[in-house]
Structures are given as structure tokens and as C-alpha cells.
Symmetry: C2
Subunit: 217 residues, 2 copies
DNA sequence: TATATTTTTGACCAAATGGTTAAACTTTAT
DNA sequence: ATAAAGTTTAACCATTTGGTCAAAAATATA
């Protein structure tokens, strides 16, 4: 008998869109879709299985429980943000230039992962201690930014502001318009998605200017 | 036989903390507690009944379904914010003074209702059309603020800024630190609640200055 | 090719959950 | 005091839901 395994594998590779990647990865992607939109409490294992186009039992075969699968998604969500942020924070430029880059880069990541922030805020409210620990494990270090602001103040590059307030200001201005998009797009732009996208594009400059204006001596 | 009804009522009045107000109201208060913290998907009818100290059937007796009870809570949450905001917006003072008052008043309401914003953002993401309609029914008019900003620009009171960006900036700076409190209090203040309260107090001034600095000519 | 191992599936289960109902209890009206 | 109306309760119900299991299918190994 002829061995069709190789042929099948070739088929699989060709039809990547349908049977793309291994099952474990497909589950994770489907779980991300569902968990990010519905949260832990609103997500259904069956819906994740449907989204992945596989049998529900496979979710447990690969991830054991809903909680474990959720944790994998939570980690993934964090990892979507970390690299971009770290590379900017570690770059060696003036603090004002760094703020420009941060706002630009951070808002880009937010636009590509619009469901992540509300998801994270929601879930941290539900189970703060455990999930904040995961943040630490994934290597989030707000201290890093705060120190940079402090040094910039000492060196006289910027006005003497509380670095914590400055950090929260920047995060607020970037994150809120994404988190509140379903509300604001309807209230301010008659639910015109293109118009709100344009608004968010403008916003990169607006936020940069807004922040820099507040810290220039 | 002696009529004990009057005596019972007196007891009820005395023990207001225990049997306070009528059942319908007690249910609404309990439902608010649970829905605001857990959201529609995470809330349990039994938990609400326990919180109210009554039988679960009474929830359905007074509010028919979980969905109806949720809607009542959603309306209530909006109403907690409206009066304060409206009174400030309608006051006849300079735009800079109005921003001061708005930030002060809005952040006070937020501190008294810290779970409302995340709750609303979460639920609007789940069912945007229906819930945004409720917002309109309750009389939210962002147009009101936008027009005031526009007029202030025309009269030359403030720099020519896009009123929508200005509005989102103010809302962001006020709302985000409350919504992200479970996260930020831990990351920036070692979970010291008093320290974060102090941070939020300072913030009223910081935000006011931050915003006014961005719009002064 | 035959055998062991891994992957996938459908049937099933127990607990949880929103909701119903009839009876008991309380209050009001007559 | 009695009947009527309103309120409260416990027992139930149907469905949903996370999870299990044994058998089937596919794959790897010998």
C-alpha cells in the first residue's frame, strides 16, 4: 500500500488557513478570541471549541481546565504588549523623544490588540493577587519608567513632576480611548468606525503634545 | 387577641440596619453590589439573594428576570453620575473654572462609585446598542460639553483644540486611575490603600493643571 | 506489516444556574 | 372576624456548563 501520510501533510501545509498549525496552538488562538471579548466569566468552553473547529474534549486534553486555558491566554495577552514597550524603554534617547516613541508604539500595539486592556482590568479586579503575580513573572517593571522620569527631572530635562502621575497620565490618555471605544465611537462619531480610527490616529500626536507640553520647563 | 402588627412594625423601624427599607429596594441595592463587582456574566442570582438576605424567588417576584434586574442596576449606575455632572456643566462660569469644578466633582463621584466605570465599559462591550440606548434615555449629552468647548475656543478663552480630544483627555485622566486601581495600587504603591487614596486626592489638582496647561493660549 | 502511542470524538455526568410554582404566611380591606 | 390581596418560602425543573471516559482514528515505532 502506498503511504499517504506525506501527501496528507503536504495538503495540510497547503491549506494552512483551514487546518493551520497544530491543535494546541489553534486552541490557544481560539481561546484568545473568546476570552478577550467575553472575559473568564462570560467565555464558554464550547464556544472556544467551535471557534477552533475541534471537539470540546480537546481543550481539556491540551489544557486540562478552563482556568489553565485562561491563564495561558492571560500570559499571551501580556506578551503581546511587552516586547514593544521594553524596546522603547531601553532605547537611549532624550525623555521627550522617548515619550513620543512610547505613545506612538503603545497606541499601535493597542490598536492591534484592542480587547486586551479591558480584559486585563476586568480579570485583575476578579482575582488581583494571582494575576498581578503573573504580571511580575512576565517581567513588567513600572519601576523602570519611573526611574527614567526621575532622572530626567534631576538632569533638568523636564519640569519637576511626580513620575507616578506622569506615568498614569500617559497610560490614561493612551488606554482609555481604546477601552471606551464601543461607547465613544457611538456617542461622538455616530458609530462611524473609520472616523474613530482617524480620531485615534490624530490622537498619537495630540497625546504626545499634551504630555510634552505638561513637562516642558 | 392582641394585635401585634403595630409592634412588629416598630421593631422593623428600630432595626432599620437589618430590615431596612422595602424588599424591592433591598434587592436593588444588593444587586448593585454584586453586578457592579462581577458584571452580568459573573453575577449569580443566588449571591444577590444572599446579599439581600432574602429568598431567591423574591428576585423574580419583583424583577421578573436576571436581565431586568441587571437593567435596573445599569440605570441606577448611570443615575449616580448624572446629577453631579449636569449641575457642573450647566453652571455659568469660565471654561477653565468649569474644568476645575468638573475634575473635582467627577473624581469625587468616581471615588464614591469606584466600580461603576469598569462595569459600564464591560457591559457596553457585551451589548453596545441596547445599553447605549439606555444612556440616551437617561439623558447623557456629550454634545453639551463639546459645544461649550467650541464656544470657548471661538471666544478665544482657550487655545484652538479639538473639543473631542479635549473631552476624551479629561475623561481618560479621571477615569483610568480609578478603573486601573486594583492594578496600579499594587504596582506603584505596594497595595497601600491609603497611599493610593492620597495619590487620587493629589490627582484632582494634577489633572486640572495638566488640562488647563494644555489649553491656555 | 504489526504494534504501541498519540490524538480525536461522542456519549455521558454532576454541579450550577436561572427560573417556576404551589403552598404558607402576612397585611389590608370589609 | 373573615376574606382578599400581597408577600415570602421551599421544593422543583430544565438547561447550561465544565469536565470525564472509553472507544475510535490517526500516527509513530518496531
Amino acid at each position: 500500500m502506498v503511504n499517504f501520510i506525506g501527501f496528507n501533510q503536504i495538503l495540510i501545509i497547503i491549506c494552512m488557513t483551514e487546518k493551520e498549525q497544530n491543535t494546541e496552538e489553534r486552541i490557544l488562538i481560539a481561546a484568545k478570541q473568546v476570552f478577550l471579548r467575553k472575559g473568564m466569566a462570560g467565555a464558554r468552553m464550547q464556544e472556544i471549541a467551535n471557534e477552533a473547529g475541534i471537539n470540546k474534549s480537546l481543550l481539556h486534553y491540551y489544557y486540562r481546565s478552563k482556568d489553565k486555558l485562561f491563564l495561558a491566554v492571560f500570559r499571551l495577552a501580556i506578551q503581546n504588549f511587552l516586547p514593544e514597550i521594553k524596546s522603547i524603554l531601553l532605547s537611549d534617547v532624550l525623555v521627550t523623544e522617548k515619550i513620543d516613541r512610547f505613545v506612538e508604539g503603545y497606541m499601535n500595539v493597542l490598536l492591534n490588540n484592542p480587547f486586551v486592556p479591558l480584559f486585563i482590568l476586568q480579570e485583575i479586579q476578579r482575582d488581583p493577587d494571582r494575576l498581578l503575580n503573573i504580571f511580575l513573572e512576565e517581567g513588567i517593571q513600572p519601576q523602570l519608567i519611573l526611574e527614567q522620569f526621575e532622572r530626567a527631572v534631576q538632569k533638568g530635562e523636564i519640569k519637576a513632576v511626580d513620575p507616578k502621575h506622569l506615568l498614569i497620565n500617559i497610560l490614561s490618555l493612551c488606554i482609555f480611548p481604546i477601552v471606551a471605544r464601543p461607547m465613544m465611537q457611538r456617542m461622538l462619531y455616530d458609530n462611524d468606525s473609520d472616523a474613530y480610527n482617524e480620531f485615534l490616529r490624530e490622537r498619537k500626536k495630540v497625546v504626545s503634545e499634551f504630555v510634552k507640553n505638561a513637562i516642558k520647563k
